[in-house]
């Protein structure tokens, strides 16, 4: 059974996704380009054809106008041209060398306007000038008047066409065929002409299958219709579109391959990064990604990864040191336990000897117990676990209890323990705060001399509680001050060993204060004394 996720796993690949997007966009762009190109090419082709056809039509029109002006008038007048208006301004004959202006047609549709002076002669005048019998059949007269054979000869050459490709039809305003050349069953018939539309426009173009028609108004409302067999053009366009599709596909394929190559090249440093990153483990944390040779974007990622590794390494290093220190601290009492028991068991001894060894073992076990206890406290003092701060603690009560508790110890060492406690309440963990105060007091009493004093003071201010533990004891050398809150750091190893300190007391104090979002600071001068200042935010 194939896992469907693995089948479509490639969609999760950045490379494939980029390539798919890129291909899609490329396809759309190529399509739009091809369509626009085809459209423009078709437009220019048909423009060319139409220009030729229009030129041809103009020739026909001009010829008609030149050759048969009198007869023209015998045909039906333009639609809407009123007789009285025609009559008003009859310069005769009209200039024959000029084609009729296009405004004619529009004027015909605007009865209110005066026809221009170039208008064809009024019908009445023409009629007067013609013999009566000739005027009886204007169509035949018209036909007879025009040298159609000349037009026939002229046109295909002008249109650069084979004669059989061109059809020419001239209709009278009534739709009677005045002339037709090369017409066949495919040619346009009068019934198919959109006469209504033709009234409004100068030139009408239309496609019917492979025939392109061009209709213009001839003289006296005749309609000149050109039909052109454009199979050649259509074939050209078909070839062109096929070429476009092929070219687009080829371009697409080329761009796809090029894109894939570029993408692969771009992702090579990613692969290198991946390889390096996966080779970095907890035991090889000192390795880093080579940023120098990378591109800016990747270098940023690599720098970020390197920064993360730096922090990780520092963390691991701290953890390693901590573990080494902890194991060292645990090993020492363990060594006492083992050597004492081994010595005691090596031979029969008097009861006092056993007792002495047992006492050693007891001390060692107590030390281990204290150390394990401190280690557990520290591990529980995770700054993430803020939820342990739940209760309201009366700090002044707590301090009073601690001072009472330690007064005896202080008295034994000839040390005066004083307190100056103002009412003060904080939100926190009672057990941890007790530990904070007791650790500070033990330190102040232990690292003191006979006749010394320790003062525990508590003050409430607007921001919270400020607690100070001041003594006039040994003090801390300046070079040790920055390290005293570090785990297992000892100012004087011998003294603290003798007094049973684990080297974790101040580290615990620091953690407790930070957990309560407070601050702890120390001010000390060697041989003069030490002052710890703790600020804890109050409940509010």
């Amino acid at each position: 059974m194939v896992n469907p996720a693995s089948l479509f796993g490639w969609t999760r690949s950045l490379r494939w996704r980029i390539q798919a997007w890129y291909a899609g966009i490329l396809l759309v762009a190529l399509s739009v380009f091809s369509v626009l190109l085809y459209w423009e090419a078709a437009r220019s082709l048909w423009d060319e054809v139409d220009t030729d056809m229009l030129a041809g039509a103009r020739i026909v029109e001009g010829t008609m106008r030149r050759l048969a002006p009198p007869i023209l008038d015998s045909l039906a007048p333009g639609p809407g041209v009123r007789r009285d208006q025609q009559r008003r301004d009859p310069p005769f004959p009209p200039p024959m060398d000029r084609p009729p202006p296009r405004s004619n047609w529009r004027d015909g549709n605007n009865p209110g306007m005066i026809p221009p002076t170039r208008e064809l002669p009024p019908r009445r005048v023409l009629q007067d000038r013609l013999p009566p019998h000739e005027a009886l059949d204007p169509v035949s007269d018209f036909k007879a008047a025009i040298d159609w054979t000349a037009i026939e000869r002229l046109l295909p050459g002008r249109l650069k066409r084979e004669p059989n490709e061109v059809t020419l039809t001239v209709w009278s305003p009534d739709g009677e065929t005045l002339f037709s050349k090369g017409t066949n069953e495919r040619s346009l018939t009068w019934s198919q002409v959109d006469t209504a539309n033709l009234k409004n426009v100068l030139v009408l173009r239309q496609m019917r299958g492979s025939i392109r028609d061009l209709l213009i108004r001839g003289p006296s409302n005749t309609t000149i219709c050109f039909g052109l067999d454009v199979t050649r053009e259509l074939n050209r366009m078909a070839r062109f579109s096929a070429f476009l599709v092929a070219a687009a596909l080829a371009t697409f394929a080329l761009a796809w391959l090029g894109g894939a190559w570029c993408l692969k090249r771009t992702l090579v440093p990613m692969a290198v990064m991946e390889k390096t990153a996966s080779s970095i483990g907890a035991d090889r944390l000192n390795e880093r990604l080579q940023v120098d040779s990378m591109d800016t974007e990747l270098a940023e990622v690599a720098t970020a990864i390197n920064g993360m590794l730096d922090r990780l390494q520092a963390g691991f290093e701290r953890q390693r040191e901590f573990t080494a220190d902890a194991s060292h601290e645990l090993r020492t009492p363990l060594a006492i336990l083992l050597s004492s028991t081994e010595l005691a068991l090596s031979k029969e001894r008097p009861a006092e000897a056993y007792r002495a060894e047992l006492e050693k073992c007891h001390r060692a076990a107590q030390r281990m117990n204290g150390l394990v206890d401190s280690l557990l406290t520290l591990s529980r003092l995770d700054p993430e676990k803020q939820n342990i701060i739940t209760e309201t603690v009366n700090l002044s009560h707590l301090c009073t209890e601690q001072v009472d508790y330690f007064r005896e110890l202080a008295g034994k060492q000839q040390i005066t323990l004083q307190s100056d406690l103002k009412p003060c309440t904080v939100l926190g963990d009672r057990g941890l705060l007790e530990r904070l105060v007791s650790n500070l007091l033990i330190n102040a009493i232990t690292y003191n001399q006979e006749g010394g004093w320790v003062i525990l003071a508590l003050q409430q201010d607007s921001e919270g509680c400020t607690m100070t533990v001041t003594d006039n004891g040994n003090g801390i050398p300046a070079q040790d001050l920055p390290h005293i809150f570090e785990r297992f750091y000892r100012v004087d190893k011998a003294r603290s060993r003798m007094s049973g300190g684990s080297g974790l007391g101040l580290a615990i104090c620091d953690s407790v204060v930070r957990l309560h979002r407070g601050t702890i600071s120390v001010d000390s001068k060697e041989h003069e004394g030490t002052k710890f200042t703790i600020h804890l935010p109050s409940v509010g």
Binding site: H328, A335, I336, L338, S339, S340, K360, K493, A494, R497
Partner: protein, 217 residues
């Protein structure tokens, strides 16, 4: 044989010292590095058991100062257990390295080995004519028969045997057989020698009057 132990844990120091004393060593102790180096430079110890982390003077600095003057064999006894620590400690001048917690028997064996090597012996067995001294089990036998010696007598025999063929002065005997707390009378060595002669034969130890004693190997 006289051994110095420098260790800042009083309880551990007590056990180590007691154990080595029971093994017949004369043991001096020190809780501080600076005090220890003073002793080490003042006396010719047969071996020194040294902790690394010491108040006053660290074990490494102890070694550096000692090595400028003396080649006393030093066993570094420490909780520092990494390979790097061992290499560093041995390169600083330690002759052996033992990690806490350790077995007292192992410590004893390593000290024996250290002393054996520095006196140029390859085995624990020293044979002088018909007398065989086993420094491992700390026993002496003559013609196959085990001879019972007190700890002091054995220590004296061992010292002379390890330096056989060489004159061993009375001062040297005092330095190596008795520890700093021993306030024995000055003629105690003569008493021990006469006891040994009774057990191992008159000619075993030769007296050089006014100079010391010698065993001819």
């Amino acid at each position: 044989m006289r051994v110095l132990i420098v260790e800042d844990e009083p309880d551990l120091l007590g056990s180590l010292a007691e154990s080595l004393r029971e093994d017949g060593y004369a043991v001096d102790t020190s809780l501080r590095g600076d005090e220890g180096i003073h002793k080490a430079l003042s006396w010719d110890y047969d071996a020194i058991v040294l902790d690394w982390m010491l108040p006053g003077l660290s074990g490494i600095d102890f070694l550096k100062r000692l090595r400028k003057v003396k080649a006393t064999p030093v066993l570094l006894l420490t909780a520092r257990d990494t390979v790097g620590d061992k290499v560093f400690g041995l390169d600083a001048g330690a002759d052996d390295y033992l990690i806490k917690p350790c077995s007292l028997r192992e410590l004893s064996a390593r000290i024996r080995a250290l002393i054996r090597r520095t006196t140029g012996n390859a085995t624990n067995l020293i044979t002088i004519s018909s007398i065989v001294i086993d420094t491992g089990s700390k026993t002496v036998s003559m013609e196959g028969q085990s001879v019972q010696l007190t700890a002091r007598e054995y220590a004296l025999v061992e010292l002379l045997a390890l330096h056989r063929g060489k004159l061993v002065s009375r001062t040297m005997i005092y330095d190596h057989i008795f520890d700093e707390d021993d306030d024995s009378l000055s003629n105690i060595v003569d008493v021990h020698v006469s006891h040994i002669r009774k057990k191992l034969g008159r000619d075993f130890i030769e007296t050089r009057r006014g100079q010391g004693y010698i065993i001819h190997g």
